[in-house]
Amino acid sequence: MSSAKHTEAAGVTTKIETTYNTDVTPATTDAVRIIKPFVTLTPQWAYDGARGIANGGFGRHVRQTPTGRFINSSIRMEGKGRGAAYSSSAVEVPDVHRWLRAAGFVATVTTTGGSEKWDFTPTTGTGTPASVTSWFYGQGELLKVAGIYANLKITAQNTGIPVWEFPFAGTMATDPADTSLPSLTYTVPTVVPPTATGTTFTLGNFTGGVVRSFAFDLGRVFDTPRVNLNSSAGHAGFQPGPRDPVLECVVETTALQGSPYHASTAIDPYQLQKNATSGLAFSLVVGGTQYNRWKLIFTQCQVVGVEPVEEGSASLRKLTIRPYVVGDQDDSDLIVRFD
């Protein structure tokens, strides 16, 4: 007896492509652990087949077949470390590793004993960004998506586990197929992701802030379509573009600090914004255990916005922080680190 399809049997496998937009057939060992709400992929079309209104009438003509199928969706995960030393390039960060590559990051692993770490830095404008193929199992079906480029968002709305979200776009050359969820092999499933509690927050000299929440958005353009008439698929994939990283964090209001306007327990964000104070170092460290912690580092940034927020009787400020590069052809604005 067959039972109704349901949403819980969901899973995703992801692999780095060697040739852009060519399915590299991710294996069950290439699984990445996703969290609810699970991906619900809606196939979209570069040309939806519409032919317009009938001449001399108000009706619609029969449609042509649609062409150029693609997916523009989003996937959510938890960020965690390996729980053991990153001793070679084969020891990847669990789950988010390949999606960070798809989000335009170059991966560098340091394997020196005791200092092992993965650093993800933006791909240079002259470099070739990585793309991934992902197979999405869900609701009793398999959807194969290739040529995926992504953006990155990291959100901590409370003291729980921050959510890593990757909005993405890719092409879908193969039709959905009835497929049961296979037995997927996840990387270190026993390692529990760190929570946002105990996050080390640093903005210049300001380290003692009471931090309510943060939301980071890489702001990467990833879904400029490359429509291709010279292809039966009608779609050659996507073209990623520039990034516009921004972090919004909500902190309790402090006394307004005098020049240089940022001290350990006080800050004057109005002056930091007004003076466009540059050279502020920013970092968030989530997790306190080596090999199960991650860091978001802005090598240099500025406060570009201050907004009062009320939460009951609590006085809060939403600070908008933007990292910047220090010259053309420079990519030193941000680092995502697992160490």
Binding site: I16, T18, V24, S88, V109, T112, G113, T123, P129
Partner: protein, 91 residues
């Protein structure tokens, strides 16, 4: 596609995507051979140095765990490696 960079003791090598997409054993063998080539060492010498390093890390962790204040234990640091070809004298 861009590959992955591996840095060990100040020496950087690149893993091309076609190797990256192979199994862990293949990429690790490629890493080993690349470091040996970059340093002018044999693969056995690289393995021996890595084993020595792993022992030092384990000893350091044991020392940290055995004292009341881990800050009393001097930090572990390994010198960057100089390729043999540029060191001279011991080719």
């Amino acid at each position: 596609m861009s590959g992955v960079t591996v840095v060990w003791r100040g020496v950087a090598i690149s893993i091309p995507p076609e190797i990256e997409s192979e199994t862990a054993e293949v990429t690790e063998a490629y890493e080993l051979a690349s470091f040996a080539k970059a340093l002018g060492w044999t693969a056995e010498e690289v393995l021996a140095e890595r084993a020595r390093e792993a022992e030092a890390v384990a000893a350091h962790r044991a020392a940290m765990a055995s004292v009341e204040n881990p800050k009393d234990v001097p930090p572990l640091a390994f010198p960057d490696l100089t390729p043999r070809a540029t060191r001279g004298g011991d080719q």
